[in-house]
Subunit: 547 residues, 2 copies
């Protein structure tokens, strides 16, 4: 059963595949090509080394060429680029990066894990910009770190508000640099919907400058000035360009393998390209969305690692299906955590999938125990059967836990109706007797069942403008600190005594702080014959966007 | 549909049922009796108020009688004890605690949520002990707090190593008091198996004195001396008795309702006793183990809250089944977290259920990012189909998250084979590209599939004594710091060159630090024709127990 297997790319997907291949078969001939110097490094740690949170460069090198070769008896050839796949001969052409020397190497099975590279658009002045960097690997990191250490930059500009951009913003801020983040879209972190991203925006602005809806027009003065499309000019001593990544698909494309619309290598459920002896994994491939089964790209480490393992199993006859990617993702953004799993509202809209969405803001742990803070959660789900499509979470504490629980719930095929039944660990430092996930389930169940009608933050102003009756059931003191224009204040506790103040001939729209008291009000009013509509997430969700 | 509903007990289960009943029906007549002064208080916060972590007594009072009465339009009668259920008349007899006055009150439906009280055994000298306290409610808390503030105790003894005892130990330690914990069993925290509890023991001993396998024989000198069964004598300025709770079943028992072997009120899946108009919930009832369907008692807040909600729904015709209790539990024990869900090994043994168990000790987050620490996890599962029976976790960080994920996996019906597929949120501060839960799944899958044979910490010494060949595949430096007696050191990287040193005529037992390298060694050796057995959890699990 011994085979000659060639792997292109020696980091997340490639190194994982190599290790697993060896565990399955001691006798295979496994050659791993890596065009860079380093294999198996911690891509995800790079920003934190630049910022000094990770103090030792060695820690980034999870495995060395020698160490991994010995441990797994591998033929690892770093600084060697695979330049062509010769499918008919079942060989690859490779080039020694340092000497330019080329040769071919034969394979029985070929695994491509070449990753994705930072997108670098054609912006005037970009090539002349001296202090402009992208971040993908250890040499990039060394360059940025050397610039930071040697040039003592005062002002940095991060172009792109994705997770790598925001991690860089945080790390540069940690170094005492004044950071400006420029993002073309109206929000950072595409995994979040706008109102959830807005919570992140508010926090970023306490630490850095955030410019949304604007892009770079040109780099001037060797990059020390950045001209934005809006006309604004930024000065920059250090610029990070992180507007996304594109799959390294050239090898596959040139070999005539199918490439998807967004550039990802097309593979089947076994990570096999249209050539049965060529597999592709990781950032370079197009995957299936776990819920919707539509093609998508998710350049993250979990899929790369999982696919690396699966491909090794499949090559050795233990066929394992990759069932698609949920896209669970997370980022630390200064003191906040923003995370998501599954489909957000934007995606569902784009795909034309019917959905409902709810918002809650429960405390990360029991209110009476110190140190808690709100966990803002938004869930999308199928209005027909309550199937969970996706969840987003933003907060200072406990967000990762809830997103992981919900990612697990989705993989377990649980619906919103099952979430109240999750028996999660409760003691005051960790949660509540009804965990935020339980609460999310209760609220969504009501909406799915039709017991609760809701309206969203982006609809309520128009409703009021059109003459809708909006009642705010918070206490007057809370209302004073900010309320939705046009709302009438009738505190929850007074509703039963003031029923006559609510109209009979039109729906009663209700808001409170987070939605809970609004829901309690709907229960009372409905039983007094009123038609009610609650504002999802209450004033808190509204204020995220409107403040 | 309006009904007259009486609730006995106004805290976790009772108050939740009352709130939900009102949400369903504005017109019901809801009377909630509570023999104490306070309703809806934070039982779980009491130890932390004593220790000063919760600074304000008001915070313990989640709802007041007036506040809750108004908000939910309830008839709340505190300081009023229900003394009898007159099932034929459908009335209860109640007594005003302060005046002794009694009267009856009629019901259509009756909900019992009387809770459980601390067990107080007949120990000589107990009644004379001045500084001896149990902890259940606000008055108990006030008493302990007054003693702490007024008497300035130097030494405290906590009798019982359950979660309340350990929380008290931590909180008294936080006040600068020297604490001794006395536990009759060989371990604290019954939810854990011995080797997992041993990790907790080691940590407790850095903060307090821990006496295991010993009980109190008598209290002497008005309780200031405690005579243990071993002969040892402890002096104590403050003693907390927390050896468990017993269900408040007298009302039900006297009314002729069925009581289970352990004293819990027997209910069906709708929390209905054998009288269809009498429901019982919370600490007072016997529940079904979620996995094994056997009767059990789980006096925790999540079940009480969930059952309170369910019973209200059921009474109003929205019949909702309570599907059993997993027993998910968690406690902060000084700097550690100990948590569990489902069935541990002890329980499975007792029930005679066939199972397998595995141990892992992965890092709470990526090793290269600072602040991580091991998450020790033990999982039990069905060797036939891989169904997860239970998981225990101990560590300084990230334990709650993994237990919640696994509790969700169990409720989703996932098997050990599904755990590697959980797509959990990864960025360096939060986890690893292969999360501890994924790892647990990989390891258990191998064991379930028969690809990996394991042996446990409590078997290996005997195996070596019987002439078994045990190889330690760690590096010599690690071995120097402690190893299993009788093991031979052959580092992982040298195995391929030293194959001849491994026997062919007997199994090769393998140990490393946590089990991972041992597994890698099994892969190499098996393919060289050796029979291998790996030590589950490696030297780390062994050392928990043997150090
Ligand atoms: C700064 C940064 C932070 C990140 N943070 C996170 C995070 O927090 N969480 C997360 O989930 N993901 C994160 N990621 C993404 C994650 O690192 C990738 O998803 C993952 O590494 C993809 O694995 P891969 O094997 O597909 O590609 P890579 O790990 O990028 O490996 C591909 C390798 O192939 C080599 N290669 C390409 N073409 C050739 C060729 N022709 N011949 C030879 N070698 C070739 C490349 O040099 C590269 O080293 C981060 C990435 C970066 C850059
Ligand atoms: C110190 C402490 C810490 C805890 N920590 C945790 C934790 O971290 N996590 C967790 O999950 N659980 C914890 N618990 C357990 C949790 O509080 C209980 O499981 C939960 O409160 C049970 O709810 P219940 O409604 O059954 O009983 P309770 O909440 O105890 O309420 C019962 C009420 O009924 C009243 N009552 C009894 N009989 C009568 C009668 N005849 N007439 C009128 N009133 C009556 C009692 O006075 C009592 O107030 C803790 C408990 C304590 C004491
Ligand atoms: C380091 C690297 C080569 C490791 O690959 P790997 O050997 O597959 O992964 P791990 O070291 O995590 O080990 C996993 C294996 O050990 C086994 N294992 C883990 N813990 C175990 C334990 N306690 N007992 C027994 N077996 C254990 C698992 O079952 C798995 O083996 P399997 O795949 O044969 O089932 C690869 O992940 C890598 O290069 N990572 C760095 C790059 C990267 O991922 N970047 C993105 C994130 S920064
Ligand atoms: C305080 C207490 C009376 C609350 O009972 P409750 O009203 O059922 O619980 P909550 O306040 O958490 O509210 C839950 C309700 O609000 C709804 N809700 C929560 N957040 C919401 C939101 N953002 N939007 C709309 N509805 C929301 C839920 O759906 C649920 O209603 P439902 O049961 O009708 O579906 C009760 O839990 C109690 O007494 N607790 C203290 C005692 C205790 O539990 N001790 C043990 C732990 S220390």
């Amino acid at each position: 059963m011994s085979k000659k297997i060639i792997i292109v790319g020696g980091v997340a997907g490639g190194a994982t595949a190599a290790a697993r291949l060896r565990r399955i078969d001691e006798t295979s001939d496994i050659v791993m090509f890596e065009k860079g110097e380093h294999i198996s490094f911690a891509n995800c740690g790079l920003p934190y080394y630049i910022g000094g949170t990770i103090d030792d460069r060695e820690k980034l090198l999870v495995q060395t060429v020698e160490g991994m070769s010995r441990k797994f008896n591998l033929d690892i050839r770093n600084l060697t680029e695979v330049t062509a796949i010769n499918r008919n001969e079942k060989t690859v052409t490779v080039k020694r990066v340092q000497t330019g020397e080329t040769y071919t190497e034969a394979y029985d099975e070929l695994i491509l894990s070449p990753g994705a590279r930072p997108i670098v658009p054609l912006i005037p002045g970009l090539n002349e910009a001296k202090q402009l960097f992208t971040l993908r690997n250890v040499p990039d990191t060394d360059q940025i770190k050397a610039w930071v250490d040697g040039r003592n930059p005062q002002k940095a500009v991060v172009i792109g508000g994705g997770f790598i951009g925001l991690e860089m913003a945080e790390n540069l801020h940690d170094l005492g640099i004044e950071v400006t983040v420029v993002e073309m879209a109206d929000q950072v972190m595409a995994s979040l919907d706008y109102e959830m991203a807005s919570i992140v925006h508010e926090h970023i602005r306490t630490k850095a400058n955030l410019i949304l809806n604007d892009g770079v027009k040109s780099f001037e003065h060797e990059g020390s000035q950045i001209q934005l499309q809006s006309g604004e000019t930024l000065t920059s001593d250090l610029t990070i360009l992180s507007i996304g990544v594109q799959p390294e698909n050239e090898l596959a494309k040139n070999a005539g393998l199918a490439i998807g619309d967004r550039g990802g290598i097309v593979v089947n459920d076994y990570m096999q390209t249209d050539d049965p002896h060529v597999y592709a994994i990781g950032d370079a491939v197009e995957v299936k969305d776990y819920n919707q089964k539509t093609p998508t790209m998710v350049p993250l480490a979990w899929p790369a690692n999982r696919q690396g393992r699966i491909v090794a199993d499949t090559i050795y006859g233990k066929k394992t299906r990759y069932k698609g990617t949920l896209g669970t993702s997370i980022a630390k953004v200064f003191d906040y955590t923003a995370a998501a799993t599954g489909n957000n509202e934007k995606t569902l809209k784009k795909l034309g999938v019917p959905y409902k969405a709810v918002h809650v803001h429960p405390a990360s742990h029991a209110g009476y125990y110190p140190g808690g803070s709100p966990v803002s959660l938004k869930m999308t789900f199928d209005p027909e059967d309550g199937r969970i499509f996706g969840v987003q979470g933003v907060g200072m504490d406990g967000v990762d836990k809830r997103i992981d629980v919900l990612a697990t719930a989705i993989k377990g095929g649980l619906t919103v109706f099952d979430l109240p039944e999750l028996e999660l660990a409760y003691a005051p430092p960790y949660g509540s007797a009804k965990d935020p996930v339980n609460m999310l389930g209760y609220v969504a169940s009501h909406v799915a069942d039709g017991d609760l009608t809701i309206v969203h933050h982006d609809e309520i102003d128009q409703i009021v403008a059109d003459g809708g009756f909006l009642v705010d059931v918070r206490d007057p003191l809370e209302v004073e600190m900010g309320a939705i224009p046009g709302s009438v204040n009738i505190p929850l506790d007074e509703i039963r005594d003031r029923i006559s103040e609510f109209p009979d001939d039109q729906p009663v729209y209700i808001t409170c702080q987070v939605g809970l008291r609004g829901y309690l009000a709907t229960r009372i009013l409905e039983q007094h014959g009123k038609e009610t509509v609650n504002l999802s997430g209450g004033y808190k969700t509204y204020a995220c966007v409107n403040n």
